[in-house]
């Protein structure tokens, strides 16, 4: 039993370190890019921009309709076949951004559609342009509505980054697998890495709550 405890303490920082240097940066970078994609894609579909709207719909359809793991494999193992070689970390960022962007685009679009059209009309009537009204009135309200589901997507994403181990990104799960191979303590180590994911997602849940509180100033909710 003593040995087990020692292994736990010994491996904890070794697993946590790639969590801090890989899992978190991968999540933060990918999610930030995903948000940019999501807002732009959502606005294009919301406004029904010709030509671009069907393209965006196609993109959302593909990325929501295929497994994340398959997408990772296509980009990392598949694309080199046609001469496109991408290093593991950037490949992971590309796939996670596009995948998450597709899901979040739908969230943001639904939130935009939930903003009453009267908000636009009021903006126009004080002389604001479409873009001014969008940026200052409609989008902030939509993002308030979208905040809880987007936070949930972010939390899922932290956990999903473990899939990047499959394309040789040395994130937490990959490091854990290596320690298991050396020590042959799968139960302990996989529970341990699970625990660290739990700590990450719990921290995010707290941040989410604090964020919702701050945003609640102008809503009757919360």
């Amino acid at each position: 039993m003593n040995n087990v405890w020692e292994l736990f303490l010994d491996s904890f920082p070794k697993i946590l370190l790639p969590g801090l240097t890989m899992t978190i940066p991968l999540t933060v970078i990918s999610f930030s890019i995903a948000m940019v994609i999501a807002v732009i894609a959502a606005m294009i579909v919301y406004v029904k921009v010709p030509v671009l709207t069907p393209l965006i719909r196609g993109y959302i359809w593909i990325f929501r309709g295929t497994p994340l793991l398959v997408q990772l494999f296509v980009v990392f193992y598949g694309l080199p076949r046609v001469g496109v070689l991408i290093a593991p970390f950037p490949a992971a960022v590309i796939v996670f951004s596009l995948n998450e962007g597709a899901y979040c685009a739908e969230t943001v679009r639904a939130a935009l559609e939930a903003v009453p059209t009267g908000q636009f009309e009021a903006g126009y009537c004080v002389g604001m342009s479409f873009l001014q009204t969008m940026r200052r009135i409609v989008l902030p309200q939509a993002m308030r509505t979208a905040f809880p589901p987007l936070s949930n997507s972010l939390i899922s994403m932290v956990k999903d980054t473990s899939l990047a181990a499959n394309i040789t990104v040395t994130e937490m799960f990959m490091v854990t697998q290596r320690i298991v191979a050396r020590t042959y303590e799968p139960l302990l180590l996989y529970v341990e890495v699970g625990l660290i994911y739990l700590i990450f997602s719990t921290a995010l849940t707290f941040i989410q709550r604090a964020g919702e509180k701050r945003l609640s100033a102008y809503t009757a909710r919360g």
């Binding site: 009453p116 009267g118 908000q119 009309e121 009021a122 903006g123 126009y124 009537c125 004080v126 002389g127 604001m128 342009s129 001014q132 200052r136 009135i137 902030p140 309200q141 308030r144 100033a217 102008y218 809503t219 009757a220």
Partner: protein
Amino acid sequence: MVLEVKNLTKSFHGQQVLKGIDLSVDAGDATVILGPSGAGKTTLLRCMNFLETADGGEITFDGRTRPIQEMTKKEIRAYRMNTAFVFQGFNLFLNKNALANVTEGLTVVRKTDKATAKRIGMEALARVGLADHADKYPHQLSGGQQQRVAIARALATDPEIIFFDEPTSALDPELTGEVLSVMRSLAADGMTMLIVTHEIEFARTVSNRIVFMEDGRVVEAGETKRIFTHPEKERTTAFLKLQETLSKEEEQP
């Protein structure tokens, strides 16, 4: 004359809702548009502020006459900067407090500096009796207060005309008074207003012109006193009679 439309037409799905409206508003006029539900009153106001695109007609504003359909986006924005609209459902910016609702059109559109905008905004809120509520968000205000903020927002940009589309219809009866009394004071100050309302007493005592609309047409228009004492058209007489009965019933339940 501040604003005039001629032969304004509008259809929805092949159904003509406005069948050639002529209407003009003089500076300082408080004109009330009366008419049964479905007459096209809302559509007329919305066409006059380009929230709907009319099918045809001419508009004269600032001494320029233009076919409505030929108005460019730029012209429409310039026009909107000199007009204001008060909606039945208030449409306050839900993510802005009362003061920010009022100053948004100044700081964002007219690039007024923050301090000046704040001063103008507070003056406008004071004018509708809400200076104490400047930092409240719409959901923290009653319907009557929200509509008064909406009126302050309309006033802040110093428009040449304010359109009102049934400003008290969404309010509980006990809250209509506060909004109507604000509008009464604006009329007394000489604000040019074009008002759709069913408040017949308000129309009789505050407006100086009445336009009676029915079925997409102006049935009769003229000086308020004349319309109420000697309406020329039978439809006008019938409508006024009905409205007066209805409002009396409301007073004595």
